[in-house]
Symmetry: C2
Subunit: 170 residues, 2 copies
């Protein structure tokens, strides 16, 4: 955590940090719950489902991403050439269900991201129980994922994925 910022002319003593609620606020402002899909011919359903929790910052604020990584005790930080930011990201279903999801159940999001989180959490549950290998559940996962407020570009249209999910008999 940044400890040596000089507040010239400060009237208020700094208060001890409640990092848990700070994280929830930070993620409400800047974090992202998303679910992406890849075509994988070798998989039973033909489609790989990849949930991801991420927070991005510029280089000057890299320390905060490291604090968040230490807090969740999982995930990695990588540089994204595309938008020239650093991204803290958790992709492992086990880590998401063990660390990330319980945090946001307890310290709840206040923006519309709360709705994305509910869908995200449900999708992680399905994958964890291997229910995403069922055509109908996979179709529901695709519907839910595409109803999330994701600003990043999609590789496939929802219709294309649903078509693949429906075609392959499992």
């Amino acid at each position: 955590m940044k400890k040596n910022v000089q507040y010239v002319g400060s009237y208020q003593k700094s208060a001890p940090m409640d990092f848990k609620w700070y994280v929830t606020g930070f993620v409400d402002g800047e974090g992202c719950f998303s679910v992406s899909f890849s075509m994988r011919a070798k998989l039973k359903t033909g489609i790989e489902v990849r949930p991801s929790f991420s927070v991005s910052q510029n280089r000057r604020s890299l320390a905060v991403l490291k604090d968040i990584q230490n807090y969740f005790k999982c995930g990695g930080i990588r540089y994204s050439k595309y938008d020239q930011t650093y991204k803290y990201e958790v992709r492992s279903i086990a880590d998401l269900r063990k660390s990330v999801i319980p945090h946001f159940e307890k310290y709840q999001l206040q923006t519309s991201k709360a709705e994305d989180f509910v869908k995200f959490s449900w999708i992680c549950d399905q994958i964890s129980a291997s229910r995403h290998l069922n055509n109908d559940v996979l179709a529901e996962i695709i519907e839910k994922a595409y109803s999330m407020n994701n600003l990043s570009k999609r590789k496939y249209t929802k219709e294309k994925l649903l078509k693949v999910a429906g075609k392959k008999k499992i």
Copy 2:
């Protein structure tokens, strides 16, 4: 605050909210401290200095902006056609110095926005004490404002403002 989000399959009881640290996290993620300038021939220095603290959200998250407004007990919320978001904004120097600045002195920002905040707070102090009517202080305000990590478009170049600030003899 959003109270009726259903967490289906939740394992964690929700914790009582620490709104102060939530706000600091939220602003670290999404908030903005900025200082803009307008040419005003009638003013002594020819330049008006306008600090602004703001947070933007989409319509679905308007409730959080209202919570933040209630917390700071000042500022307004308006719809921005330009980027189709709602913006909570505080522009009054008195309100900034009474409510907003003391909050962030006590519940300190952790990202590079902390550096912007120190500059912002100093500029508000100068305006409050009418020191911005002095050419040299005004030039310093312009330099500091243009070194802040502001992503919005500037109406004037720094050089243009410094030229106007230097020309007018006060």
